[in-house]
């Protein structure tokens, strides 16, 4: 197969600043009267899917919108806390589209496409306008203008927020737009559905197979294009900050139908989460990164210092982020903060019952500003922390530790956000497009909404206008074949009747991934992981136990997802193994600078690694070269 030809990113010509506007101006349009003749299947109702479904319906398309939850408003985006970036420069502190673009490219460790990232920065400003018009109650100044904060290592204040519930408010905004379209009849909702396959007819994505999670029956849906907005795959680690139903199934099944999977090894481990307490745990709770604006991270200087924190004098504390990174201090990007926490804990300096935690201390901030201000800023987070741990962070420093949080990898898409399967578009966290090897705080919400509100309504229209579609119906041979295959898989899972639950396997897989495919990786560890994953996978198909039948059965749902995680995990390890460099969230211990920072190899690895499924053979690696015409990749320095 001609790799280069397939991986045409279709980046428009012209100057970086003019690419999107010029391209948009020359797109082919679907005539208004014809739009209703097109059916678009949007899978996912998070920020990306919800905004896309609403905007496409506003244009007049007939939209079918699917989600796992009982209502679109519960998509995992609802849990985002900290905020959303936009280059509004309302604070007059030197922000601009260029600066947001540059920060995002640099933050991604020069492993993303210039053109995509610049478009994102341009669109960021429209998102805020749109959300405010919808009635999203962003935080405001006394004068009535919008408030901003600095977030996740940015040196300007460009983050818009709604208390610690920004994701919720943005999602409810998108949901409200969506419900308006439901009322108009242009969107039909299909909640409690899980997409289990993509149906391709004449080489184009034309349908999906879903399992109705209430009845257990398979359902077929046909349309002219499919938009996947199914979120990230951090739950491959079992314990992560993601919701318990987050999964990789939709993107994985599309991969197996021919969509390339890009940079699967790029995962983000978030530095400020509540450490794991017990084996029963179902998820890890994120403590918003905004806490690092006022909290100071430290560990004792002495290994095995068992004293309670308040008895450790200042001079015996190591404020290691401030020491190592004087310019950014506690606000260094996530990958750096996470790795630094791991390395002090690996040296035996960690605190708490397990030794896998560091302090995040607000004592100085409280002394300086008073408890009231701290309560105003972080009150809800502090009470959440106290609720979970039983400790009061106003008096005892918080304990935090990194946890899997976000996946920069995802299905490969071109500039139009279309995958290698014509008609299959992928938006939001499910694609790989904008964050390179590391995502900056408050930019996932921005990307999801940019994709859904402002990119896909244009690029999908252009696709539809260019294509001729055969008549397809759910009785087409491809639908039958796919439905049979999926039903067979389900029957097979149910028939194993072994001894261990899907959850037990998920825990085992998670441990392997965390140990060897997590925050830092080695060739040896990755090879070991690949062996372990293979063993678990073999045992899974021999010894899995699922109670009940194919009706409403959450263990069966979980079993299908874990089966896919086991396959995806192997690809993640393989991708990490071939990338013989360190960049962003991908840290290979063999490749580091003398002072322990990520050492990139731009000569060999300035590319997107896109994997093609090859059945029982090894997946095939294709490379999309990254071309930098406007910025010069340098070593990231936050010192």
């Amino acid at each position: 197969m001609d790799a280069q030809k397939i991986l045409d990113a279709r980046i428009p010509d012209g100057s970086l600043e003019a690419k999107w506007s010029t391209y948009k101006a020359h797109m082919k349009l679907v005539a208004p009267a014809n739009k209703k003749k097109y059916t678009i299947l949007v899978v996912g109702t998070g920020l990306a899917g919800g905004s896309a479904a609403a905007s496409l319906a506003e244009l007049g398309y007939n939209v079918l919108n699917f989600c796992i939850q009982d209502t679109p408003r519960r998509a995992h985006s609802v849990a985002a806390q900290g905020g959303i970036n936009a280059a509004k420069n309302y604070q007059n502190d030197g922000d601009s589209e260029w600066r947001l673009f540059y920060d995002t490219i640099k933050g991604g460790d020069f492993r993303s496409r210039e053109a995509n990232v610049h478009r994102l920065a341009e669109l960021s400003v429209n998102i805020i306008d749109q959300c405010v018009a919808q009635g999203v109650p962003f935080a405001r100044e006394y004068g009535g203008t919008l408030a901003n904060r600095s977030f996740g290592g940015a040196q300007v204040s460009r983050t818009f927020y709604a208390r610690g519930q920004t994701g919720q408010q943005l999602l409810l905004g998108a949901y409200s737009a969506l419900m308006r379209q439901v009322d108009s009849g242009r969107v039909t909702l299909f909640p409690r559905r899980e997409m289990l396959d993509l149906v391709i007819i004449d080489g184009k994505a034309r349908g999906i197979i879903c399992r109705n999670l209430t009845t257990g029956k398979l359902e077929r849906y046909v349309g002219h294009a499919v938009v996947l907005a199914t979120g990230g795959y951090s739950t491959v680690f079992n314990l992560s900050t993601n919701a318990v139903n987050s999964n990789a199934t939709a993107i994985w099944r599309c991969y197996k139908r021919g969509a390339f999977f890009a940079n699967p090894c790029y995962t983000q481990i978030h530095p400020t989460c509540i450490p794991q307490a017990g084996g029963y745990q179902s998820k890890l709770t994120l403590m918003s990164e905004s806490l690092r604006n006022d909290g100071r991270v430290w560990v004792p200087k002495k290994t095995g210092d068992g004293r309670p924190p308040e008895q450790i004098p200042q001079e015996e504390r190591d404020y290691y982020l401030e020491r190592k990174y004087p310019a950014f201090g506690n606000l260094v990007p996530r990958d750096i903060a996470s790795r630094a926490a791991k390395s002090v804990c690996d040296e035996g300096l960690g605190v708490g019952a397990t030794g896998f935690a560091v302090y995040l201390d607000f004592a100085d901030a409280i002394k300086r500003m008073g408890e009231l201000i701290i309560r105003d800023r972080y009150g809800n987070l502090f009470s959440m922390y106290e609720e979970i741990t039983g400790n009061d962070p106003y008096t005892v420093p918080m304990q935090i530790y990194p946890a899997p949080h976000y996946t920069m990898g995802g299905l490969w898409v071109d500039y139009n956000l279309m995958s290698t399967i014509p008609g299959l578009h992928v938006i939001g966290e499910a694609n790989f497009s904008d964050h390179g090897a590391n995502r900056l705080g408050a930019s996932a919400l921005m990307q999801g909404l940019a994709d859904g509100y402002f990119v896909i309504p244009y690029t999908l229209g252009d696709y539809l206008a260019h294509e001729n579609f055969s008549d397809a119906s759910i009785t087409h041979e491809s639908f039958k074949q796919s439905a049979t295959e999926i039903q067979n898989d389900i029957n097979k899972l149910l028939s194993i009747q072994g001894k261990k639950s899907a959850k037990e396997y998920h825990v085992e897989l998670g441990r392997v991934m965390w140990d060897h495919v997590g925050m830092s990786r080695t060739e040896k560890g990755l090879k070991k992981a690949m062996g372990n994953i293979q063993e678990i996978r073999e045992e899974y198909w021999q010894n899995l136990y699922i109670p009940g039948a194919s009706t409403l059965n959450k263990d069966l749902e979980m079993a299908g997802r874990v089966a896919d995680f086991l396959e995806l995990a192997a690809l993640m390890a393989q991708d990490a193994l071939q990338r013989n460099e360190s960049c962003g969230g991908h840290f290979r211990e063999e490749y580091q600078t003398p002072d322990g920072e990520a050492l990139r190899d731009d000569e060999t690895f300035s590319h997107v690694a896109a994997w093609e499924y090859a059945g029982s053979s090894k997946p095939v690696l294709h490379k999309e070269k990254l071309v930098f015409e406007n910025v010069t990749p340098g070593q990231r320095s936050y010192k």
């Binding site: 408003r73 018009a133 962003f138 019952a353 039983g390 959850k503």
Partner: protein, 258 residues
């Protein structure tokens, strides 16, 4: 951090095969419950042990497990979301209970929330209420610059207080009349406070309130149980505001029926 002492908890759980089957309370004993577990993790733990015994696990909804998505919803010890104030079922920790306690666990019950299975109920009626006006009509791309319309901090905060509703349905489950008034009024209030909501204010109040009736939710008779169980502490004052909005709109529309 790890609390070593574990507890034994007795549960009485509502089991119902499907929406047509009759349900009943079934007793279970859960061993080795850590006080740090969330209520749902305790149920996960019970389910794992039921599976080992070849019994069918208890179905319940959850997703975020941090109190923001609104998926979880159990009546725990007779109270929607359990005995702790301002707390969802998933956030509730077992340290709220004592070793040997017996706790009943039931679904959110209401005519408009039919049981699907065990503790899982159908809350799609909430979506249909939202469909009838829980939005501001603004097409993507048609918005003016976000700072064009200043909104005072106080107003923004009031709107935010109402907007934090997670749509869990605890208010309905707690209300003796199974009224959806707290849920509906929170959305109406958010858009009453914000200037963006003004153009559609009347239409919104009329149609959302009417849809509550269509769905079979009961009337509000000021019991206040909804506010007491709301995990986001949405104020019952919103209901008074909704009533005023509705009456004004109905009078204006000439459709007021005394």
């Amino acid at each position: 951090m790890i609390t070593m002492k574990t507890m034994t908890i007795n549960l009485n759980v509502w089991r119902q095969e499907n929406s047509d089957a009759p349900g009943k309370m079934v007793p279970y004993t859960v061993e080795d419950v850590s006080p740090d577990m969330s209520f749902l993790e305790m149920l996960d733990h019970l389910n794992e042990s039921l599976m080992k015994k070849g019994e069918t696990p208890i179905e319940f909804d959850s997703d975020c497990r941090e109190g923001i998505c609104g998926a979880c919803g159990l009546v725990i010890a007779g109270i929607a979301h359990g005995p702790k104030r301002a707390c969802t079922s998933c956030e509730l920790r077992m340290r709220q209970f004592r070793d040997g306690d017996t706790i009943t666990v039931e679904p959110f019950r209401a005519k408009a929330f039919p049981v699907i299975k065990d503790l899982v109920v159908d809350r799609s009626a909430f979506d249909r209420i939202m469909e009838k006006g829980g939005y501001i009509s603004v097409h993507t791309g048609s918005a003016p610059d976000a700072n064009t319309m200043p909104i005072s901090k106080e107003v923004a905060e009031k709107a935010m207080d109402a907007a934090t509703c997670i749509g869990c349905g605890a208010c309905v489950a707690a209300c003796p009349n199974a009224s959806a008034s707290l849920f509906t009024s929170a959305k109406i209030a958010q858009y009453v406070y914000l200037p963006q909501g003004a153009p559609e204010r009347k239409r919104r109040a009329l149609s959302m309130v009417q849809q509550m009736d269509v769905e079979g939710f009961g009337y509000c008779s000021n019991h206040g149980e909804c506010e007491a169980v709301c995990p986001k502490e949405i104020s019952i004052k919103n209901i008074a505001l909704m009533r005023r909005e509705y009456v004004k709109a109905a009078l204006d529309a000439g459709c007021f029926q005394p």
